[in-house]
């Protein structure tokens, strides 16, 4: 164990987190989000893509998109624990943007050796990217990737590609004979057909990508080691996002419970409400502490990173479910309406809960590590 007691969460990290919180509190409150993304409520609505590109551009100017790019490739090379702090704040605002997928791609590229350098330089110059690895069954297992590379050309259909409408590039896992390699290409490359999904979550977009004989740059021929190294970082950041969103759900619901009167008492007087929300707080705090611990492990004790990331993601995923359920229930009738902002975070969290493996999946992996 050589983990620093304070998770390695430096002043610089605190500054980054704090500035993100302030920027979003000023520019992107929940009513702004609602106005932007909730225009079409019909259940049969098709795919949609609503986001604040100007604010995202401002974040890019602040260098947030290249935090995970090593300095050698023109990035900032921040520790994961600092990046997790930023992602927690973006989650708290449910801010629609391609940061999480771009960071995910960056960590995978960073672990992929020399071939990753050129794409990382592109990210340092403003490119954004998302990861194409999942099949139609939602498996996030590298070996199950539905894309194949034959004679240097990609073929197949990758599913559940996150924020696909907001990114400029794709990082594709594709089988290549006996191994699975990594490939880098522009979203608008010839032969790439992006089919947006119609999803519940209003704060994200998602799609399937059909590759029909697409030429792409090979980052590495065997991605297994890079994947094993990068996945704990990716799990940790998605967990950080859930923690931030959970905190919004908690605070908003507590505010409502303190203000709403029934039986001549604020709702929060009633233990049935109070204790539910305390349990949500406990769930959030557990997930949050485990997120920073996982980030710190990734930064300082790589061989232990997966163990801690599984714990963080399991706790965050379960918390996302419970916080969502309780945020609607404790709001009562108003929480069941489209006009109340609670549903935005409910839907984001139910989406996040399933990304990159849910609680039981992470616990099964953790058990393999701990129990064999």
């Amino acid at each position: 164990m050589t983990q620093p007691d304070n998770f390695g969460f430096t002043e610089e990290a605190a500054l980054l987190k704090d500035s993100a919180r302030k920027l979003l509190a000023e520019k992107f409150t929940a009513d702004v989000l609602h106005g932007m993304v909730a225009g079409d409520p019909t259940p049969e609505r098709g795919p949609a893509l609503h986001w604040d590109e100007a604010l995202w551009a401002q974040m890019q100017e602040l260098g947030w998109g290249l935090l995970a790019v090593p300095e050698a490739q023109g990035g900032v090379g921040m520790p994961l624990v600092a990046v997790a702090g930023l992602c927690e704040e973006l989650g708290r605002a449910a801010f629609p943007c391609p940061l999480l997928p771009t960071l995910s791609a960056s960590y995978l590229l960073g672990a992929a050796g020399a071939g990753g350098e050129a794409p990382l330089e592109a990210i340092a110059e403003g490119a954004t990217a998302s990861l194409a690895v999942s099949d139609a069954n939602g498996s996030w297992d590298l070996a199950q990737t539905p894309v194949e590379c034959i004679d240097g050309k990609l073929n197949g259909t990758a599913c559940f590609v996150q924020d696909i409408g907001k990114v400029s590039h794709l990082l594709v896992c594709a089988r290549n004979g006996d191994t699975t390699g990594l490939y880098w290409l522009a979203v608008d490359a010839p032969g790439v057909d992006v089919q947006a999904d119609a999803i519940v979550d209003l704060s994200r977009d998602q799609g399937r990508v059909v590759f029909a004989g697409v030429e792409a740059m090979q980052v590495c021929a065997d991605a297994s080691a890079a994947f094993a190294r990068a996945m704990p970082a990716i799990w940790t950041l998605y967990a950080a996002d859930m923690v931030g969103a959970g905190e919004w759900q908690l605070q908003t619901t507590v505010d409502y419970a303190n203000q709403r009167q029934q039986f001549d008492r604020p709702l929060g007087f009633f233990q049935a409400v109070k204790h539910q929300l305390v349990d949500v707080m406990v769930d959030i705090d557990r997930a949050k502490s485990l997120v920073y611990s996982a980030a710190c492990a990734w930064d300082t004790e790589p061989e232990e990173a997966a163990r801690y990331a599984h714990m963080a993601q399991s706790a965050a995923s379960d918390m996302a479910a419970s916080a969502s359920s309780r945020s609607v229930q404790c709001h009562g009738g108003i929480g069941f309406t489209w006009e109340c902002f609670v549903h935005l975070f409910f839907k984001r969290q139910k989406h996040s809960q399933m990304l990159w493996g849910d609680g039981p999946w992470h616990r099964a992996r953790l058990a393999s590590i701990v129990m064999g």
Partner: protein
């Protein structure tokens, strides 16, 4: 001979034979429009027309209002509604659209209205010609129902109503509303009175119905605003200041603890999507790939589904035991659990279905690849309507603790 039949009285047996014969010929074809997940989400007139036609034909065949007297449009039978319900469920008929009318307004009107009013209102309620809605909740009166502020001021033989009701399902189609309001501001419970109000005829003249949108994106429930609406005193149910007691009749029936059995059906729906049933989860799990096998082979998924199956079977057996007095210590103990259990089981089933779907639970109705057409995330969201409306699960637990276990009131 089916289990249901074993204990039939001669009257019930004869009626069951009639119902079976009629249903064999008259169960309607599935609709061409998408039906909502429950009557409370009816959004379009297409949906309504299909369901109204079904209710009318079932009523004409004597399958609705069976146990009400003939004078009020009922069948004049004894304990036959349950038989009709069993046979309709078995025949997988659609559900009936006038759900608030049948389940809540009818028994309330029956027990509390004057004879003339009953005879006028109930036949069209049973036939589904008049859709009913319920004006109970207000922005400031949810769980604390007795704090309603909608006020009726006396003006000779009339009352002038002002106020604001919310979460009013079916108000956009409703002819009539059952309305809990205040006629005296100086006392809480005893200041309430209860009316039936013709709202459709007053639209734009004292009544405004505005749709609210649900978390799912569906419409189907509304706000209803009263501005100087005049209604006749003859539309009042029971005495002035007895509104709370009348409302208790309504709620008892809503919570499944009322004396009169509500005509219900819905077999078609529960068959077509297996909605909320553990069997549907098994079906879904078998179709869902997971870790190189199917989710149906995952021991944790199996355990969860079996828990749901046991909860559902337990609820069904509760209802069965509720009719065996020797195995029931307190008459309301099982009946008052019904709504709580049903709504929570429904919620958990939909939640488990989403867990089984995994990443694909992100896909909604507009997506061609969504498993089961995106019904599960919609069902999960809709389930909160059931754990919140008609007394939240928290309020239900209070009621059980107080009325059945005799514990002190928590408010």
């Amino acid at each position: 001979m089916s289990a249901d039949q074993q204990k039939d009285t001669p009257e019930q047996a004869e009626f069951r034979a009639h119902a079976q014969a009629w249903l064999a010929e008259n169960t309607p074809e599935p609709p061409t429009v998408r039906l909502p997940q429950s009557p409370l989400e009816i959004m379009t007139t297409d949906q309504l027309s299909y369901l109204q036609a079904w209710q009318k034909s079932a009523y004409d065949a004597g399958l609705v209002g069976c146990d009400y007297p003939v004078e009020v449009g009922g069948g004049g039978r004894q304990n036959c509604q349950r038989i009709a319900n069993e046979e309709m469920r078995r025949a997988r008929t659609p559900f009936m659209p006038n759900v608030i009318g049948l389940g809540m307004a009818a028994p309330t009107v029956f027990y509390h209205a004057q004879e003339e009013l009953k005879q006028r209102l109930l036949p069209k309620l049973f036939s589904g010609e008049d859709i009913w809605c319920q004006g109970f909740s207000e922005p400031g009166a949810g769980s604390d129902l007795a704090s309603v502020q909608t006020f009726a001021e006396r003006k000779g033989d009339k009352w002038v109503i002002n106020g604001h009701k919310v979460w009013t399902s079916l108000a956009h189609f409703a002819e009539w509303m059952i309305l809990l309001l205040r006629t005296d501001k100086s006392v809480k419970h005893d200041g309430l009175s209860y009316f039936v109000v013709p709202i459709k005829s007053a639209l734009g003249k004292g009544v405004t119905v505005r749709p609210l949108i649900k978390i799912t994106g569906e419409t189907g429930f509304n706000e209803v605003i009263f501005e100087d609406l005049e209604v006749d005193d003859s539309y009042r149910l029971d005495e002035l200041g007895k509104g709370w007691q009348v409302a208790m009749t309504t709620l008892a029936h809503e919570r499944g603890a009322g004396e009169l059995v509500t005509p219900s059906s819905g077999g078609m729906k529960s068959e077509s999507t297996h909605n909320t049933s553990a069997m549907a989860l098994i079906d879904l799990a078998r179709r869902t790939a997971r870790n190189g096998a199917t989710a149906a082979e995952d021991p944790l998924v199996r355990d969860q589904i079996m828990q749901q199956l046991i909860r559902e079977q337990g609820l069904a057996e509760n209802n069965r035991r509720g009719r065996v007095t020797e195995l029931l210590d307190h008459p309301m103990r099982l009946a008052l659990q019904n709504k709580l259990l049903m709504s929570e089981i429904m919620q958990d089933s939909a939640g488990i279905a989403m867990d089984i779907e995994g990443a694909a639970a992100s896909l909604y109705l507009g997506d061609g690849s969504a498993p089961d057409g995106g019904q599960w995330p919609m069902a999960y969201m809709n389930s909160f309507g059931f754990t919140i409306a008609a007394g939240t699960s928290e309020v239900q637990r209070n009621i059980l603790g107080e009325r059945v276990l005799g514990m002190a009131k928590s408010k």
